[in-house]
Symmetry: D2
């Protein structure tokens, strides 16, 4: 198929590459003309703007927007809504909040334009391993785009098959699902990221306890000087907690056992927060996912005002002095 890609960052560019490798055609645009040039050298058709881009597509046109969530995506889709016509398809492959998808899909439906949201996991590894995709949109349109998704997904590969899957949609085993109507794709991806935060924090806390077991705060006969590099490695092998995140941790610890290259200030994106909001809307307790998010907030400040309030109270009732020296 011929598809337009708007946004040629690492994700967008690699998606184009994976598509072209499988024989699809890509028309590409990015405000950064170097990014366009690079892909043109690899076989893509370059575009000078969204107008130009549209002219280089067949009918119905397929626009894949791969931009930062929020304004950049919003503005681009607003422009495309003007350019596109009935039957055309706009795909948002970024990290959009699913309620924005629902809103947009309604707005575009009034013009006969189809909207598809694709939550994508796989990060920098997607080009090689394939992308795990969670898709929302009308059934017939998602079916129409199947050649694209089938190409981008990892495929069955060598991963052991889950028993009793015969009755289910084979696309899930290939690495993509049609999760539901507009917004459903990004909703599932959002929860995916929420879980990711929780998993990461669980490993992180565990390794912290292992590392601190050698701390001089402990009585000497209660210390162990543990080799975290080997521990991460051994857990990859036959243990209940083996995972891809653990593979990455083992790799990081093999390269730098103290992880001294990392500052410990940890960013968060919208998905973690939106997951907590979804939990609250549904009245589902989500302690682990939330505390994992808060831990990142805490990592980015030296001290909280909350801590100072505690010290002030302690001074008030007990005369405890916790004053900077």
């Amino acid at each position: 198929m011929r598809i337009a890609m708007i946004g040629l960052g690492r994700m967008g560019a690699n998606i184009v590459r994976r598509l072209m490798k499988a024989g699809h055609e890509a028309v590409v645009f990015d405000r950064n003309t170097e990014a366009v040039g690079a892909l043109v050298k690899e076989g893509a058709v370059g575009a000078a703007g969204l107008d130009d881009l549209k002219g280089k597509l067949e009918k119905p046109a397929i626009f894949w927007v791969m931009l930062p969530a929020g304004e950049p995506t919003e503005d681009t889709i607003a422009t495309l809504a003007e350019l596109a016509g009935p039957g055309d398809i706009i795909i948002d492959g970024g990290n959009t909040f699913y309620k924005d998808d629902i809103r947009r899909s309604k707005m575009l439906a009034e013009k006969g334009i189809h909207y598809v949201d694709v939550g994508t996991s796989g990060g920098v590894w997607g080009l090689e391993r394939g992308y795990c995709m969670m898709i929302g949109g009308p059934d017939d349109i998602v079916r129409h785009l199947d050649p694209i998704f089938d190409t981008l997904a990892p495929g069955l590969g060598t991963i052991e098959r889950t028993p009793k899957r015969e009755a289910y949609d084979v696309r899930a085993e290939k690495g993509y699902i049609h999760a539901g109507p507009a917004g459903a794709g990004h909703f599932v991806k959002m929860i995916h990221n929420g879980i990711e935060y929780g998993l990461m924090q669980a490993y992180a806390e565990g390794f912290d306890i292992l590392k601190s077991k050698s701390s001089e705060k402990l009585p000497e006969d209660q210390r162990f000087d543990l080799n975290l590099t080997d521990i991460a490695e051994v857990w990859r092998r036959g243990s209940v907690i083996s995972s891809w995140l653990l593979d990455l941790t083992a790799s990081a610890l093999a390269g730098s056992p103290q992880l001294s290259n990392f500052s410990g200030r940890v960013a968060d994106s919208g998905e973690g927060r939106w997951t907590v909001e979804a939990a609250m809307e549904e009245a589902v307790p989500a302690n682990v996912l939330t505390t994992a998010l808060f831990s990142r907030y805490r990592s980015r400040v030296e001290h909280t005002f909350a801590d100072q309030v505690l010290s002030a109270m302690r001074f008030g009732f007990g005369g405890h002095v916790e004053i900077p020296q």
Copy 2:
């Protein structure tokens, strides 16, 4: 009554003062002879050591040990166990772990010595306001010591009486209870402190959110520049969250609206941790009390290794760079 006080720190010395003011007699000892001298000037009988102390008491002797929990208390009680005889009473008024009380009371019972544990709240304010006491030990011995406890407690005072209390022990309304056998006093005091951690953290987080509402991280039209000093004050007056801890917070914020005197590194003592252990032994979920404790741990380090592990994973799957500059 005549009572021996061992340990003349702020708590021990003030307990002696409150007792003497009510006509009780005190024999006092501390390794710090100045502390002894100060109280002798105020009317106490000084002692040069535990032996000397014992000689200055009537039969049955009453020893109140008011020392830091752990070794100092343990060693002193071991020595007293040698000096004391059948019928004598040893009181531990410190912050001892209740299982140590149970062990000691058994050991002392074999020698006919009575053991009473007294958990004391009231901090630096106790001399003036009276001490809230939670007492463990044999019923007859606790009754015997009633004049002491009655003096130390705040008494009915002007606090509004709880309806329907007629059927209950009046001692609770005076500010002390006989909670149960040895260890029960410190157990109740331990949970008191566990709750204290939770309450403090609840206020602290709330004030942090109020303060951060003026943060430049927020879009300008979403900021409020709130006066925390006035907010703390107004909540003291008719609101659901009025409390003594809030009084202290209001006072601290009136003196220093930014609390800039406080570093935000917050200590914790054994009780918070023991409360969590008790919860785990009973399989009671205690999320608030535990997270309040963990928040203090976190306040005392700049970054955790856990945070670095998160950064390492993020670099691994997404190429996110969180490296010190």
Copy 3:
């Protein structure tokens, strides 16, 4: 002053009573005509509708809306926006989300109508004790309404004054503050309720650990049979954790030591959730406030699907059977 009260539930009716007792005049309306009749008997002027209500007010008219947050309040204010004219004042005394205040105040300002939001704490006790109020709106309008707020607030009363308050707004000591522009009142009240959740949960967990210390799950020699009624009472007296919420708990436990009248399904209102959202917007870790909220969600379901997922995994890796019998 003459003021209109729309909504005569427990809060609205009692506010009217407290105002009239101090000589203010009230014009009252509620869809429930009995509620109107009751207050008319006590001296209020009754109104048959919002139109009628408006006709019975002086210029500038003051409308106090005391309705459930959300639609009822929103619709009423929309109607008032049509009826009211330049210079009139609309007060929302309910539990409105502060962003709605900001939106409404802008909308009303275009018509020259002033908007004031009043967060009110004090619950069923306000009539007698006075209401703690947190107010948002334009400075001159809030000043104009001062006689109303001054009447409703508890006043200085017998509560011990906070030291070093001389430099601050005396209104806080009387029990009300002008927190900032529109929305600031409800924002502060919202955080108040968020803190309330945390405080309540801290006490609740503590009492649970005390109660479960007599559980048969524990070895017999590790049990204490504690008197929770007396413990709650003694903590009111000189302890660090004394508070109004503890007073209420002591009262409940004196009436029913097992609290067997209460099902343990605990509701939550919007403020707890909005507090968490505010924390997330500001990137402030709020573990205690959030976990307190989640605990309420959990209280309302028998089992979570999350628990079933855990059981399914445990069966998967360990053959552990957690199947209903």
Copy 4:
């Protein structure tokens, strides 16, 4: 090598089978004579008691104890301590608390007996996949036992190798590590299980939010009816959160999309609790691991007393009625 296995439950029996398949010899004992008989049929030497067992071993004897932690293991090792002589080796392969290992190893060392603790992960899958082992004990003894561990471990297999591992102990890549002196093996295994709780809870919460997205509590236009079976499957394929625990979840959901076979009452073993204790000893915040543990406690009761305390307070300040009907 010839090795004695004491305890022929699923773990012990399968370890024997895996050893014999590789040519090792096993002398086996269990109080359940049928279990002994079954393995004798498969080639093991049966023993009628510990005495008999000892007689059937070469010098130095190797005893592998594979019994429930606590009394059964403790008693057996005490008996073995009497039977064994200098140079003999006792292995505890169960889930013993690491401080018990330290105590025992000292006690046994006085008799010249070597003690090795082996934390084992792999559950019911170990026979086929191999066991992931974390080992504590003296270096020369662990080296001596290498043929045993090498057989039991999964081996390099087909798992992708971690880059830059050349400098590290190859045993970790085969699936076992010598973690440190006595206790270190069980300590690392304990943290492994602590992490496991956190990971499981993260997935569980995520799936709960997905499932509850179809809840009738939500406005109809905010619901999605998501296929959890397909979602679990797709996440196995190229996503950041792929793991063995997710494989198990996908399998469970393929078999029963509602997981209706599972009651949602989730057990916990000692390791989760000990992990929290270790975190507290080290003052490491471990919010995720702890909240995951508490969630299991909560799953096993219908209502908590804490919830009733909340209701009682709410009734007290707001007249909110939360009473069973």
